[in-house]
């Protein structure tokens, strides 16, 4: 999968901005291996 293409899945903190306000959640996204 992502590992084979030189990338790895990482947990990322992302912001959500709705009419009721802003909050953050932790999601998975792939990124270049550092």
């Amino acid at each position: 999968g992502a590992e084979a293409s030189g990338r790895k899945w990482e947990q990322k903190q992302v912001q959500i901005k709705t009419l009721e306000g802003e909050f953050s959640v932790t999601m998975w996204a792939s990124d270049d291996k550092k």
Binding site: A2, S5, K12, V14, Q15, L19, V25, M27
Partner: protein, 444 residues
């Protein structure tokens, strides 16, 4: 003869076409030469994205969170969060073209996430709902579109000179100049300006070579008066240069120790004049660097004008018996039919020997193609046209591609790694015109 039509102008829609007939599409991961091939492992069903909210009545553009329900090539069927099992607002998007972003993009870019009006009242606490739906889920990588832009940069540009097969006489090449590059496909103009001067091929096509290739390998090249060439053409005068060898796809090295292809050896080969046929064929000439001039034995064209250059590592040539082993109809030489032809007898009749099977490149990657999968494929008899097509049959690494709505006689054999086949949605990404299925009721 096909005439060019624009599928989108004609009302063709890949999403509806696939849904109405419950078709599958070949995944992007089947196409090594396609944009985002390396990134496609990062994309999957269930993945969350931020996308324009089309179910809002606000004056400004707002976004909402959606997830991928289904993938078909570059196309993704999306469903907004909050709709649960309700499919009524599902919509197709091209992941390579539209306003689709990783979760978090709206906050960073000061865009507002607003729930679709249809479900706004269904959920009381949107924060709790979204937190539950998003925590631990996957989203697009932030560099998705940067990688995509990188994978759509091509080393060829207008004004570069190349040597390419002469479509008026397959056994020779002609010099041509790149006029346009679209999605890695080259619009070439023959430099001598004679006859129909346009030719299309992918930059990795085995038909196109660097300037000097013909002389180096011993391939025939059409000569013409230099003063008429494109160097003097007003469009190309200032940008004219030879495309250098490293821009072209490298062919596999061949080792001739222990024997190589020899003149007169028999084999089976895809007919370059009828790509739906595999024919009894002969090696007529061995060139340098592993190239062979191959003629179809049914042909009576004098002087070898329809001989075709295949590299020894080509996946379009096969050892004798390949078709029989794989239940493919073999196109036979004149004066033979199914009852009178057998390879041993034919070799005896023609006092020839078969090319040893060890000389053929028969490796088969796990390509992922299956019969029934939809794709966009070049009509190689009219290579400026890319058509809605189906993989009709898979034989090891060989695909029989059917052009939707066209008779079977137009089917073509292509290799699974051919740069002339593309994922669903490729034309939309690159801005290339897609040819719709031929019948009007199939296309809309």
């Amino acid at each position: 003869t096909r005439t060019g039509q624009d599928a989108f102008v004609m009302g063709f829609d890949w999403g509806n076409y696939l849904r109405e007939r419950n078709h599958r599409a070949a995944p992007v991961s089947c196409f090594k030469h396609a944009p985002l091939f390396d990134q496609w492992e990062d994309v999957g069903v269930g993945m969350k994205v931020e996308v324009i909210n089309n179910d809002a009545v606000l004056p400004s553009k707002v976004y909402w969170i959606a997830y991928i329900v289904k993938l078909a090539g570059y196309k993704a069927l999306l469903r907004y969060e909050g709709f649960e099992g309700d499919t009524s607002h599902d919509f197709w998007c091209n992941l390579g073209t539209v306003d689709i972003h990783p979760i978090g993009w709206c906050a960073v870019n000061s865009k507002l996430l607003v729930p679709p009006q249809t479900v706004h009242q269904r959920i009381r606490d949107w924060k709790a709902f979204l937190t539950k739906r998003l925590v631990g889920a996957k989203t697009l990588p932030v560099d998705f579109y940067i990688k995509m832009a990188d994978s759509m940069k091509y080393p060829f540009r207008q004004g570069m000179r190349v040597e390419v097969v002469d479509k008026a006489q397959l056994s020779r090449t002609r010099t041509a100049v790149v006029d346009a590059v679209i999605g890695g496909r080259l619009r070439l103009l023959y430099e001598d300006g004679q006859g129909d001067t346009e030719f299309w091929c992918h930059m990795w096509s085995p038909l196109v070579h660097f300037v000097g290739w013909s002389k180096r390998t011993g391939h025939e090249i059409k000569k013409f008066e230099k003063k008429k060439d494109m160097a003097n053409h007003p469009t190309f005068r200032k940008i004219y240069c030879d495309a250098v060898p490293y821009l072209f796809k490298k062919v596999r090295s061949v080792y001739t120790e222990g024997g190589f292809f020899e003149e007169g050896m028999k084999l089976e080969a895809i007919d370059p004049l009828n790509l739906g046929s595999i024919c009894v064929a002969t090696v007529h000439k061995v060139l340098l660097d592993g190239y062979l001039m191959v003629g179809m034995d049914y042909s009576e064209t004098p002087g070898g004008a329809d001989w075709f250059c295949y590299h020894a590592s080509s996946h379009a040539i096969f050892p004798v018996g390949f078709c029989e082993r794989n239940k493919i109809d073999l196109t036979l030489p004149k004066n033979y039919d199914k009852t009178s032809f057998s390879w041993p007898k034919y070799l005896e009749d023609t006092a020839s020997k078969p090319a040893p099977s060890r000389l053929f490149n028969m490796d088969c990657p796990s390509h992922g193609f299956e019969a029934g999968m939809k794709l966009e494929a070049v009509d190689l008899m009219e290579p400026r046209l890319i058509c809605v097509a189906t993989v009709r049959r898979v034989v090891s690494r060989l695909l029989r591609v059917h052009f939707d709505g066209w008779d079977e006689e137009f089917d073509q054999w292509v290799d699974c790694e051919s740069s002339d086949i593309y994922p669903v949605g490729w034309c939309e990404i690159t801005g290339y015109q897609l040819q719709p299925p031929v019948s009007a009721d199939e296309s809309t």
